[in-house]
Symmetry: C2
Subunit: 113 residues, 2 copies
């Protein structure tokens, strides 16, 4: 469970489109720094700085094997910000959520059973 300063860091890390693009890429699997840098159209030092912010926030971890540094997402790193946002929904929105979840669930209806 993140404390307030941990949540500060995670939300700050996500407040930049390039860093969100890195997260979106890493959801699909680990990637080298070079692979992550390719679509970002910025200098390697700039990319490394973004990666440092993501690592400092506990969202990304990296491992150097030989000459290649591979980054991956830290499992569960986005759970706390997700939970915080979910808790801030207005009462009316929460009722709609429950209705939507109920309609989306594949619960057997009387007709089907």
């Amino acid at each position: 469970m993140l404390n307030q300063s941990g949540l500060d860091k995670v939300f700050h890390a996500l407040s930049d489109a390039s860093r969100r693009a890195v997260v979106e890429r890493l959801v699909r699997g680990p990637a080298s720094v070079g692979t992550l840098a390719e679509p970002l159209a910025m200098s390697l030092p700039a990319v490394l700085q973004h990666l440092a912010v993501l690592q400092d926030a506990g969202i990304v971890t990296s491992q150097k094997i030989g000459r290649v540094r591979t980054c991956s997402l830290v499992p569960g790193a986005l759970t706390d910000p997700t939970a915080w946002l979910a808790a801030q929904r207005l009462p009316a929105e929460r009722r709609l959520d429950r209705l939507g979840a109920h309609l989306a669930s594949d619960h057997p209806t009387q007709e089907q059973s």
Copy 2:
């Protein structure tokens, strides 16, 4: 639907514990600036600056009636960051989500029907 710069602003607005405290208070209903300032232990200008960041991000709106400025949450303002975070969960986490939602839904079991 927020663009990248809109998402930047929302996540930035949420990257501060005092601003998150304001959001948590406003989920329970509109409040005057004075009410919002009370638990924050900071100067009124500092509170107003935080409110300006939340307003700029489209999370909070305010209305001045007489001498009192009342703030409220903008409905749906947190939908896009919530959706973005939900989309970034790792495949294994998503499978657990679905299992959890299924178990939590009050779907009738064969025993009950």
